[in-house]
């Protein structure tokens, strides 16, 4: 029996505090995986393998640092450690414990958590301390054995690994997405939901995603399995470490469930750490859809530690991926510039719309009265209330337009960090009764309101695609949008809508007024938009093309000769047409 010890300190190779000495005293034989260490050593018969050095990216605290170290190790381990004969993985303290917990799942052996001094005993306070306490508590409740080394106290749990067998036969795709119903934030969730639903015509589809409180159960439909993790199982120090914790839980979940996908398809940086780790742990080719980039959102100004980490993971994801999908030509330019990608690696795959579902929602009699008076025309906006979406510009536009006429109602749906400011802005302009903030609307209500609107406005400052423009066209409504990013490709100027320069409330007001005063023109644009959506943006065609690309990736994979030390039991998947 060989024990694999996992630690981030080991005397004399890496010493931070007491742990280095304690671990050295307690390791007798076996192998040691030393996190945050490069190289390989032999210490009196103990084989020490370094987990690799984390990338040079600024982190905010020790928890973020530990997760960076974890994901670095998981991606490198299959090329460094021969897992044969390892029958137990023991993690020392919380940092070693986190890595050991996941490695044990991959090797399908028991996990022992060795703890020396609990965070509670150290008397730490604040978010970092709370996060460490919750990680310790999670590991203690997940381990097959907990060993309090300084107290020489052991607790063994009846082994119930619950491991499922890897399925090697069929063609399956694992989508990793942080958005999926009910956790729907922006366009990403809609795209992944429709895409995965359509893909079940071709393959078994797994979706690894977030479960909201009270709704963390897996779901299974024919050829589709939604695997949810509770991202709040662990406390975090902020948004980035929360994303890392969620990713660690996804890796553990996929390994426990025994999913061996033919292809992993990740969406944005929010699932990048898990996707990259799983690619190497399971030797499965990775493809990615980049829906938006930090580089684009920040106009190339990557400065804070949060921005650096997001940018790093976006780069890493596109570097590791066999193909990078983007939703528009504008995004192709953006990712090629931001990540220095070769042109033939990037494929434009637009988002689509499920017209059958969209058309099913019809406004009921009198429903319009909930939003406007009978003589008021409805100018509608939906989107997150963040700077990039330009909602403040729309309120400025409302101020300009309502100085000229009073028969207009601005209906603003969505939510976000700027909401309170935007509501205050509208009130301060005296527009309280002319600008209605509805908050977030569920899709069934949202689609009905779109059909009730006279004009739909998208005043964005940054917009990789602009799914709202697609929905507006599906609703046969004219669109007034800024001439940027994906919007400039989706909206045909003068045919399906009007494109205006960014940052110009006056131009928005003029264009909206032109459409309100010319209902025939507005109707004609709406109908042309609908026709364009029907011809170009049905999910059926888009997913057929996506599946064709999957096939090409698998062919390349089959001839790649890619091997790891972990994968002797996994055979390459076959594509079933």
């Amino acid at each position: 029996m060989v024990v694999l010890h996992v630690t981030n300190e080991l005397e004399p190779l890496k010493r931070i505090g007491q742990l280095a000495k304690w671990v050295r005293e307690n390791v007798d034989g076996g192998k040691v995986l030393l996190l945050g260490f490069e190289g390989r050593r032999n210490l009196d018969g103990i084989e020490v393998v370094g987990g690799g050095l984390s990338p040079r990216v600024a982190v905010s605290d020790v928890v973020e640092e530990a997760f960076m170290e974890l994901f670095t190790t998981l991606a490198e381990l299959p090329y460094k450690l021969d897992p044969r004969n390892v029958s137990l993985v023991e993690g020392h303290e919380w940092r070693g414990g986190l890595a050991a917990y996941i490695i044990a799942k991959r090797l399908r052996v028991p996990f022992r958590f060795s703890i020396y001094t609990r965070e509670e005993e150290r008397g730490g306070q604040g978010l970092v301390s709370e996060a460490i306490k919750s990680i310790e508590s999670f590991l203690m409740s997940s381990a097959d054995e907990v060993f309090e080394r300084l107290k020489n106290s052991r607790f063994r749990r009846e082994s119930s690994s619950g491991f499922q067998q890897y399925s090697n036969g069929g063609f399956s795709i694992l989508h990793a997405s942080w958005e999926y119903p009910p956790h729907m934030v922006g366009g990403l969730g809609r795209a992944v939901t429709s895409m995965t639903k359509r893909l079940t015509s071709y393959a078994d589809v797994f979706v690894a995603t977030i479960g909201l409180p009270g709704r963390v159960h897996d779901e299974r439909a024919e050829r589709l399995k939604v695997m949810r993790v509770d991202p709040f199982s662990l406390r975090s120090t902020g948004l980035v470490s929360w994303v890392y914790a969620f990713n660690a839980l996804i890796v553990a979940k996929v390994l426990t469930e025994g999913v061996k996908p033919s292809i992993i398809h990740a969406h944005d940086w929010l699932t990048a750490p898990a996707a990259v780790a799983l690619k190497h742990l399971l030797r499965a080719p990775l493809v990615v859809t980049i829906h938006a980039t930090e580089y684009g959102r920040s106009r190339g100004n990557i400065s804070t530690s949060m921005q650096q980490q997001i940018h790093y993971w976006e780069w890493r994801l596109t570097y590791e991926a066999w193909r990078v999908f983007v939703c528009s030509n504008s995004m192709r330019g953006e990712v090629e510039a931001a990540f220095k990608l070769p042109r033939d690696k990037v494929i434009v795959l637009p988002n689509g719309i499920d017209l059958e579902e969209f058309d099913a929602f019809k406004p009921e009699h009198g429903e319009r009265d909930n939003y406007a008076l009978p003589w008021e025309k409805i100018v509608f906006f939906t989107g997150r209330h963040v700077y990039d979406k330009g909602v403040d510009l729309l309120i400025e536009c409302a101020r300009i337009l309502l100085q000229r006429r009073s028969d207009v109602k601005f209906v603003i749906s969505g939510d976000g960090p700027m909401r309170m400011h935007l509501e205050w802005l509208a009130r301060s302009y005296g527009l309280g009764d002319k600008v209605l903030f509805t908050g977030r609307l569920p899709d069934n209500v949202l689609y009905k309101v779109m059909k009730l609107a006279d004009v739909i406005v998208i005043p964005s400052r940054y917009e990789p695609f602009g799914i709202v423009a697609l929905e507006a066209m599906a609703a046969a409504k004219p669109v007034v949008a800024t001439q940027i990013g994906g919007l400039a490709e989706l909206v045909k100027e003068g045919e399906t809508g009007v494109l205006v320069p960014p940052e110009s409330p006056e131009a928005l007001a003029v264009s909206i007024e032109r459409l309100l005063d010319n209902p025939e023109l507005a109707k004609d644009m709406g109908l042309k938009g609908r026709k364009r959506v029907e011809e170009l943006y049905g999910w059926g065609k888009i997913v057929r093309y996506l599946f064709h690309i999957y096939g090409r990736v698998l062919e390349e994979y089959a001839s790649s000769g890619w091997k790891t030390l972990f994968d002797s039991s996994i055979s390459p998947p076959q594509l079933k047409h």
């Binding site: 978010l127 922006g186 366009g187 409180p213 406390r235 902020g238």
Partner: protein, 74 residues
């Protein structure tokens, strides 16, 4: 006045997302580094917008509050 968004972010980090994981308002104030009085005012605003639920001495995020934090990210 304390930025209510800071409170939401802290509740999110502390996994205070349901009644079982709700945290004491006093502890929340301590972690953020403000007085309980200051935090009370901000929590009232957040409760009015359905982002948090106050349950005796404890507080937690609603699903709407979770989504509001999520909207920062995409």
């Amino acid at each position: 006045m304390l930025d209510p968004f800071e409170i939401l972010k802290t509740l999110h980090a502390l996994s205070a997302v349901d009644e079982y994981r709700a945290i004491e308002v006093e502890l929340l104030a301590k972690i953020i580094g403000v007085t309980p009085r200051e935090i009370d005012d901000a929590l009232k605003v957040l409760r009015g917008m359905d982002y948090v639920i106050l349950n005796g001495p404890k507080v937690y995020l609603t699903e709407l509050g979770i989504m509001k934090i999520s909207s920062l990210f995409c």
